[in-house]
């Protein structure tokens, strides 16, 4: 059994060991602290100056990472809390992403910016957000997210293989969960990039849910309750690549599709997924794709208020029931 945080840490060790061109930068990433969420533990002791604890300078460290990448190396930049990637917006969108094409020829920028996302930890409005949606549709930029189903070493290899900057989102609550192990009611398989979670031998599901890594456990809790208490069979699709939205398998005979997204309402990843699915499924859909998002509001610090704002298992269950009623 491996916790998601340990799996990530091991993948970073393996990556830096096997590829001496990889650098890692971020606030407090060095030992003995090993990063705010301990994901970089042991790296600075092993890889010396390829691992740098940086000043509080999110914009500049994203730029330094882009510079290392431009000069022929590869860089992983850790933003301590995803909320602060806002400070690196210019470097990521106007430099790193555009540089891959704005000079009239392909310029590789192998840069991965890691962003710990999400709430349900009582950290309050500036330390709990899911900023994925702000980076959707930026030319030259790809978005990925940690899931409990995808080997993260393979994801790093894929992201660097693209030769363009990638944001990699990691839900902070997911860090404490196990890799490759889920609710024993369900099984999972990988269909290309996408994890498909299904009820063994159930035949056609009543509803297919699509979500991102950070919401997997809340969605599974909802699926369990829908099955046991409402007699509704759901299947779940979890892509590791969020944008561009990858092909999602097996939706052809889905009576209904729900996209579950922890980002706040408005200009969402869920809407982007639906936009990608409509042309393909238009003839077969009986009703519009249901979009489930966190509320249009800041994320409060007090747990009883925070809970109401974010997507929870019970809100997913209620939305699916309502859509199917």
């Amino acid at each position: 059994m491996t916790r998601v945080s340990e799996h990530l840490n091991q993948a970073l060790h393996d990556l830096m060991e096997s590829d001496p061109s990889v650098h890692l930068l971020g606030e407090d990433v060095g030992d003995p602290y090993g990063g705010a969420f301990k994901i970089t533990r042991g790296l600075s002791g092993r890889f010396g100056s390829r691992v740098r604890s940086t000043p509080l300078s999110e914009g500049a460290i994203a730029g330094v990472g882009a510079g290392l990448a431009l000069a022929g190396d590869k860089a992983i930049v850790e933003i301590m809390f995803a909320d602060f990637v806002a400070l690196a917006f210019d470097q990521i969108t106007n430099f790193a992403a555009k540089s891959t094409s704005m000079y009239g020829r392909p310029v590789p920028v192998p840069l991965v910016v890691r962003c710990p996302t999400g709430g349900n930890r009582g950290y309050g409005p500036t330390h709990s957000q899911n900023p994925q949606k702000h980076f959707i549709g930026v030319p030259g930029l790809s978005l990925f997210e940690m899931t409990p189903f995808h080997d993260v070493g393979e994801l790093f290899a894929r992201m660097f293989g693209l030769g363009r900057p990638c944001l990699f989102f990691e839900d902070k609550v997911l860090y404490t969960r196990q890799m490759f192990r889920i609710d024993d009611l369900f099984r999972f398989e990988l269909v290309d990039d996408v994890a498909r979670v299904y009820l063994d031998g159930a035949g056609r599901p009543d509803c297919t849910l699509v979500t991102h890594g950070g919401l997997v456990h809340r969605t599974l809790d909802a699926m369990r309750a829908l099955l046991l208490e409402d007699d509704l069979v759901c299947e779940l699709l979890v892509p590791a690549q969020l944008y561009p939205v990858p092909p999602l398998p097996g939706l052809e005979d889905a009576p209904h599709v729900c996209v579950v997204d922890d980002g706040t309402e408005g200009g969402t990843w869920a809407a982007e997924v639906a936009t990608a699915l409509y042309p393909r499924l238009w003839d077969r859909l009986r009703r519009p794709i249901t979009l489930i998002n966190s509320a249009d509001g800041v994320i409060p610090a007090a747990p009883h208020l925070e809970r109401e704002v974010l997507v929870q298992a019970d809100s997913i269950r209620a939305a699916v029931r309502e859509a199917l009623s």
């Binding site: 604890s53 000043p55 300078s57 602060f84 009582g122 409005p125 500036t126 409060p300 208020l305």
Partner: protein, 307 residues
């Protein structure tokens, strides 16, 4: 906001009752928070100002009611030295009725009267410059507390440049505790804060004393100048963070933590006048215990129900 009570000084000591009360209120409040976390009663995170309490206690007496104060993640002392309302602050941190901001902001995001904090480092200085621009000429100023690590953020320099160009009454209080989370200053800051201020033509004053009266005496004319000229001023305190960055995340070597403890004001004040100190210490400890008991018994706050 100048001294709340008539100063009754200890004969052997430069501190008055009000200052000692304020210091000890903050000390016991922060200790109580760490206890509550250990008991699993609090969620999220907290950053205590243990060891640094004397800074806001010294500074707050130089502030006027119409001054605006900007605080950061380590802001409980900044708040309590300005507004001795531990009930409201604890209710905010615990999400209980009577919370300063309805429990939405929590420990790091408070807006109460002319006190405002935010959890994103460096964000406050441009805003403080804007508020200061509006206050210029009224005699009021904008005071912003920031740490040494926050000098890594570009916004700090963009703000200092404008504050100097536009003669903004901006008082930047730097709590230089030699560390940012786990990173020592030597690993995150090239050059000095003094030289950085000088580069913008901004006055800089270095404080090494931990004596509240002495600090105030030195700062009073400088702060007056911020108001009268007006002009920005950077006051850099050499200080120590006694506790962990947040909770349970202190990776400093034990010798260093021991050295930090030795520089703490608490034992020093206690030795100077044991009886007087013990009396006020007990009073503030019991006050905080009562606050914890009262606030813990309250129902959850409602959003939009800010006090």
């Amino acid at each position: 906001m100048i001294a709340t009570a008539a100063p009754s000084r200890s004969p052997r000591h430069a501190l008055n009752d009000g200052d000692l009360r304020s210091l000890l209120l903050i000390r016991h409040f922060e200790r109580a928070l760490l206890r509550l976390f250990e008991q699993g009663v609090l969620s999220g995170t907290t950053h205590t100002c243990l060891g640094q309490e004397y800074i806001p206690v010294a500074v707050s007496a130089l502030l006027r009611d119409d001054d605006f104060v900007f605080s950061n993640h380590r802001g409980h002392g900044h708040f309590l030295a300005r507004h001795p309302d531990p009930h409201g602050l604890l209710a905010e941190i615990m999400g209980r009725e009577g919370a300063l901001c309805g429990g939405v902001g929590g420990s790091q995001h408070i807006y109460h009267r002319r006190f405002l904090s935010t959890g994103v480092q460096g964000e406050s200085l441009p805003v403080a410059t804007g508020v200061g621009l509006k206050l210029a000429g009224t005699g009021a100023l904008a005071c912003a507390y920031i740490g040494d690590g926050t000098w890594g953020e570009g916004a700090v320099y963009e703000a200092l440049n404008m504050a100097s160009l536009w003669r903004v009454p901006l008082l930047v209080v730097v709590e230089h505790n030699g560390i940012a989370q786990s990173t020592p200053t030597s690993a995150q800051m090239a050059g000095t804060i003094a030289a950085r201020a000088a580069a913008f033509g901004v006055r800089h004053h270095h404080v090494t004393s931990t004596d509240v009266g002495e600090i105030r005496q030195a700062l009073a004319p400088l702060v007056d100048a911020v108001r009268a000229e007006p002009s920005p001023l950077v006051v850099e305190f050499a200080t120590h963070r006694l506790g962990p960055h947040s909770k349970g995340d202190d990776t400093r070597p034990p010798e260093e933590i021991r050295r930090v403890r030795e520089s703490d004001w608490y034992d020093r004040h206690a030795e100077l006048d044991p009886e007087w100190f013990a009396r006020i210490d007990r009073e503030q400890r019991e006050l905080v215990e009562r606050v914890v008991a009262e606030v813990s018994a309250r129902p959850h706050s409602r959003s939009g129900g800010a006090a």
